[in-house]
């Protein structure tokens, strides 16, 4: 090959498009994805509304009024009507959002840390450790998740803290499974051996090479559990095992308004709508985020 005949371009005249940074690329992809964008905005709105409930709520969510029970949507002073005890629905939805989002996120976050760690350890080290962890986890699969949550919080006693503990225990096993499966797959890829060949020890390999490759799958799965957690938590509240009655919580509100479904169907449906919108946004947003954060595209 004779390269001398080719005209040489001075290096400063070579136009090279710089590849944008990783997070810039992720941001651009999200902006281009309408569905994800809308869901993220909705979720942010719901979260902010819940955080600033005490500023935004027009009335005291606990103040009852026998005279103004079950008012329809649009009643002056009660924009979203009142419940069976005459409490303002809008205020209760705002305050209830706090509880529900808390009950949705805490158990999942706890389970993510516990289950993720156990799964990665089991998958990476394999052998007897894997056996012990995975068989223990299998025991929890013997019970349906609702039953398990009810049994645990029944044994621990009612209250929000215990409900969170119960839900955490319910969500750990599936997360261990997912983390273990993905870790086992990634562990056998050449780049893990290559990292070992360049002198990395097990802690470094787990932290640097395994976690980022495994996290995506676990987080996406966990975000799907968020809505399950809200629903299970409301189930517990219904049985008197979760959030206790005067408190506002979407699941609890849905359950108490159940009897009013023939009187004020639109009011009764509102807390359910909130659960539905929150969980569907969460699922769609997590799908979108996963796609946007995908490196191979």
């Amino acid at each position: 090959m004779d390269t001398t005949a080719l005209p040489r371009i001075p290096p400063d005249q070579v136009k090279v498009s710089r590849s944008p940074g990783y997070w810039a690329t992720v941001g651009r992809r999200i902006l281009a994805d309408r569905v994800t964008l809308v869901c993220l905005v909705l979720l942010a709105t719901i979260a902010l509304a819940a955080v600033f409930a005490d500023v935004l709520a027009p009335l005291d969510p606990l103040k009852t009024s026998m005279a103004k029970r079950l008012r329809p949507i649009g009643t002056p002073g009660f924009p979203l009507g009142t419940d069976e005890l005459g409490r303002d629905i809008l205020s209760r939805l705002l305050y209830g959002g706090r509880m529900s989002l808390l009950m949705g996120s805490w158990p999942v976050a706890n389970a993510l840390v516990i289950g993720g760690t156990l799964g990665i350890v089991a998958g990476f080290f394999g052998g007897r450790l894997n056996m012990v962890i995975m068989r223990t986890v299998d025991v929890f699969y013997a019970f349906p998740s609702v039953l398990l949550a009810v049994a645990i919080s029944g044994a621990l006693g009612s209250g929000m803290k215990n409900a969170i503990v119960a839900l955490t225990i319910v969500f750990v096993p599936p997360l261990v499974r997912i983390a273990e499966t993905v870790t086992t797959q990634v562990r056998n890829l050449d780049f893990v051996e290559a990292a070992r060949a360049s002198g990395a020890g097990s802690p470094t390999i787990i932290r640097v090479h395994l976690l980022p490759n495994v996290m995506g799958a676990i987080v996406v799965y966990a975000s799907g559990l968020f809505s399950v957690s809200i629903i299970l938590a409301s189930g517990l509240s219904f049985l008197g095992l979760g959030v206790e009655p005067p408190q506002a919580e979407w699941g609890l509100m849905l359950n108490t308004l159940r009897q009013a479904i023939y009187v004020q169907p639109w009011v009764a449906i509102l807390p359910g709508m909130m659960i539905f919108v929150t969980s569907i946004c969460c699922n769609l947003a997590s799908d979108g985020l996963r796609a946007a954060m995908e490196i191979k595209q």
Partner: protein
Amino acid sequence: MSDPTPLLSVTGLNVAFQTPRGTAQAVNGIDFTLARGEVLCLLGESGSGKSVTLRALMRLLPEQRSRISGRVTIAGEDLYGLPERRVEDLRGKVVSMVFQEPMLALDPVYTIGAQIAETIVRHERVSKAEAGRRALELLEKVQIPSAKRRLEAYPHEMSGGMRQRAMIALALACNPAILLADEPTTALDATVQMQVLLLLRRLQAETGMAVIMVTHDIGVAAETADRVAVMYAGRIVEQGTAAQVLKTPQHPYATGLFASTVHAGLKDRRLDAIPGAPPDLTALPPGCAFAPRCARRREACDVGQPPKIRMADAREVLCVDAVAAG
């Protein structure tokens, strides 16, 4: 090369794997040495134990499932007598490895620059900035065009040849004394193969590192090796200088292997093939493993292991037919 102690010496290395079908004898008592700056090619077909040997040299084989015996000495240290910590220090710094499939051997979630810098930081405890500078130098050394921009590229954004160059840069990050290359050109297309080989040879000459190259491509061996070791069923059946082994092979397997290679003079002729198939590693015959396929098989071949014979020209052949020196 007057150094009396070789950089790497392997004596009586055995590797066996527990499989559901029984114990697979992947490597069966091989001996070789590697001097500073020497290029050794391990040649053989798939399943002859080449890659397992390489991994054994870095203690990369899974400890629970493999049984390893024999002695591997690297720069005077007994590899299998060292604690894991010390081995980690050796890996990447004294011995490093280039893998066959660069797409799989590079972590998809990090840029090339980050992966190279990571290794440098780990072994030399230098600052991130310094490591980044070194990474750039390395990419330039392996002739990656517009190296500066490629530092920030992810593996999937590069072509196969470029990825393999990046892999080589990663392996060279800490100036290893020994580079192990596991079929570094197999996953590349033919034109790129040659470029990568030439690059490896040039880097070897520049840095004076020793290289063990595993390949089943005789052309690659002829192109790069100082010495060649032909492997069959986990044994080195013939070992000598590249010229000796490739031009006048003595072992019947080596003869057959080279005869079954495609080259230009073969047009319109049937390729000579070795009859039969490689032996089952879980049930190796008591005698010579190649005997069942050998045209020169005699009674002596099946009695026991053929002796290792050192011939007059100093090459070693594992065959009853070989003529010993003096």
